[in-house]
């Protein structure tokens, strides 16, 4: 009988992001719930050298699946590698990140394992059931796995990051045969900008139709910079061409769960709320005090954004000890 919670960590471009430690946080919750051991696996071209980073964060063993075919992400090779780790661990549950790579790996792995799959899990319950959003997060469903094995991806910014401490778990190499490749990674073109990625941001400043123009985003970028926040946008701002689609938050954009979400000039239609309603603290800045976002915000500030946002930025800089430009 399979026994073990296997957390699968996927490096991005050869390095592990701290968000990976959230998987171990989720793994601990599930391991405690099902009373099964917690193990971790690292998959990649340099998995063995990265395994040490994971070894002292709660797992009783770390499996390193390293192979040249895993240097860059392809769905088939990574799924096969993950399956090899699952077999070695004799795991009953597999936890992956809700990133583009994590989700597609989980999808393929679930079929290889004949396992049920739940993506973007936001809660793990004491009986092993999980919760996830449906209909753009308008409903939260409790999901039960019918198969002996199960695969899940956990939502970012939701589970605690496992800290390093205690003895390092043993690291074991897992061999794997990629078989004849059906896809080939050709190249990667990185983003030019140094902007913080929306999905992993603890703070987000987002702008909507109320900004009126692309220039309207300038004060928002300055506020975001002062806060160390990522910049988001409503669909209307993106459709108007004021800011690229990668900033879009909502049903047809990104779903974010930052600690702080500052919505400027966004009325708060259902489709936008679907992307940010789980944020910790929501601040709304809007001239319309009755719009949905102002009604549901943790903190509502009524007024003209063009006046308010620069003043807020100046206040933050003053508190942080930055000189306010004359």
């Amino acid at each position: 009988m399979a026994n073990g919670i296997l957390v699968v960590v996927i490096p991005s471009r050869g390095t592990l992001s701290p968000a990976s430690y959230e998987l171990l946080g989720a793994g601990k919750v599930l391991a405690d719930a099902l009373k099964q051991p917690l193990l971790a696996a690292v998959i990649g071209g340099n998995a063995a050298s990265l395994a040490g980073d994971i070894a002292a964060r709660g797992a009783s063993k770390v499996l390193a699946v390293e192979h040249p075919s895993l240097k860059d992400f392809t769905e088939e090779a990574y799924a096969k590698a993950a399956a090899a780790a699952v077999a070695k661990a004799d795991a009953s549950r597999v936890i992956l990140p809700s990133t583009i790579a994590g989700r597609s790996l989980a999808a393929r792995l679930a079929v290889l394992l004949k396992a049920g799959l739940a993506t973007d899990v936001t809660e793990i319950l004491p009986d092993g059931k999980v919760r996830r959003g449906y209909y753009g997060g308008n409903l939260i469903a409790e999901v039960e796995f019918k198969s002996p094995l199960a695969v899940m991806t956990v939502a970012a910014m939701t589970f605690p990051r496992a800290e390093a401490g205690g003895a390092a778990a043993p690291i074991e190499a897992v061999s794997f045969d990629p078989g004849a490749p059906v896809s080939e990674f050709v190249s990667f073109q990185g983003e030019e900008s140094r902007e913080i990625d929306l999905g992993a941001a603890e703070k987000v400043v987002a702008g909507g139709a109320g900004l009126g123009s692309a220039e309207g985003f300038k004060p928002l970028f300055e506020l975001a910079h002062a806060l160390g926040a990522a910049v988001g946008a409503s669909r209307r701002a993106v459709d108007s061409g004021w800011i690229p689609y990668k900033h879009q938050v909502g049903l047809t954009g990104r779903t974010v769960r930052p600690k702080l979400y500052v919505a400027v000039g966004i009325s708060g239609q259902i489709q936008h709320l679907a992307g940010m309603a789980s944020s910790g603290t929501i601040v709304a800045v809007n001239s319309d005090k009755d719009c949905p976002l102002m009604q549901m915000a943790s903190i509502a500030v009524q007024g003209e954004y063009s006046e308010l946002v620069p003043l807020i930025t100046a206040e933050i800089k003053a508190r942080k000890g930055h000189a306010v430009p004359a």
Partner: protein
């Protein structure tokens, strides 16, 4: 070389504003359904690809109740050449595992009649929103798969080179065909249904395949074949009431807001 393009589509509730009943079941009975929004981009990609390679066809495929034929008609109105409906009570209540198995069985059947070149999918459905069916379908067939595709750079008879949008940039991936490709919004701007397309869609007749037609056991289809089932659903917990920042001037409001954020250790 002419391409046999399949685009998988789904009929989904036309609103996400769905409530639950006392038993925790989503109240979707009577809610109008339509072509899943992200599938519009996949249909457009399929039709553009068809148009770019002479002799090619684009066929829509869906698993759903009888009424799901409407989304096949929608695909034809947008330029697809035909459609196939996988249907029967046995398919109700399926999750991505069961649905992808059904799609893979249909594709296997189609591939045996005429080799399939490429299968396109939308990013995710507006109901479950998982975004995994395209990849899972490929896994069943042991075909290549790729997700988050923003551009089909080149497609010939044996391979496809695509651009995949990752969180930190764009990957270029080359896949052996046949392959399953899940697209994202950035791939195109879908055309509106044409008059000619609408007329063709009204006349279209679709083959209907049951689980038996696909060689699937009842236990493999729908709720019986699901690996994960929704036990109950609920509205998200209500957010606590918020506070309004007061101030005679914008500067006062700004200062008060920052006070609160500092108090709450958010900055």
């Amino acid at each position: 070389m002419a391409l046999n393009i399949i685009v998988c589509v789904k009929s989904t509730p036309s609103t996400v504003n769905v409530g639950v009943d006392a038993d925790g079941k989503p109240k979707i009975a009577g809610v109008p359904v339509a072509l899943n929004p992200f599938d519009e981009f996949a249909v457009e990609a399929a039709v553009r690809l068809k148009e770019s390679v002479p002799g090619s066809t684009a066929t829509a495929l869906t698993v759903g109740p009888d009424a799901a034929a409407e989304v096949l008609r929608e695909a034809i109105a947008r330029g697809a050449d035909g459609g196939v409906l996988v249907t029967g009570p046995e398919f109700e209540g399926g999750d991505s595992y069961a649905t992808s198995l059904a799609l893979s069985a249909a594709l296997k059947k189609m591939h045996a009649e005429k080799p399939v070149s490429i299968v396109l999918f939308g990013k995710n459905t507006s109901d479950a929103g998982a975004g995994v069916v395209g990849t899972q379908t490929a896994a069943w067939l042991e075909w290549a798969s790729v997700s988050a595709v923003k551009k089909l750079e080149s497609v010939d008879g044996t391979s496809a080179t695509v651009l995949r949008q990752m969180e930190d940039g764009v990957d270029t991936v080359k896949l052996k065909l046949p392959a399953c490709i899940s697209t994202i919004k950035e791939i195109n701007e879908p055309r509106l249904p044409s008059l000619k397309g609408k007329m063709a869609s009204k006349k279209a007749v679709f083959p209907k395949w049951t689980a038996a037609d696909l060689g699937l056991q009842p236990a493999q289809a729908g709720a019986a074949g699901a690996g994960a089932v929704v036990v109950k659903a609920a509205l998200p917990p209500a957010r606590p009431a918020g506070l309004k920042v007061e101030g005679a001037t914008a500067a006062e409001k700004a200062a008060r807001l920052v006070d609160i954020l500092v108090e709450r250790k958010l900055i």
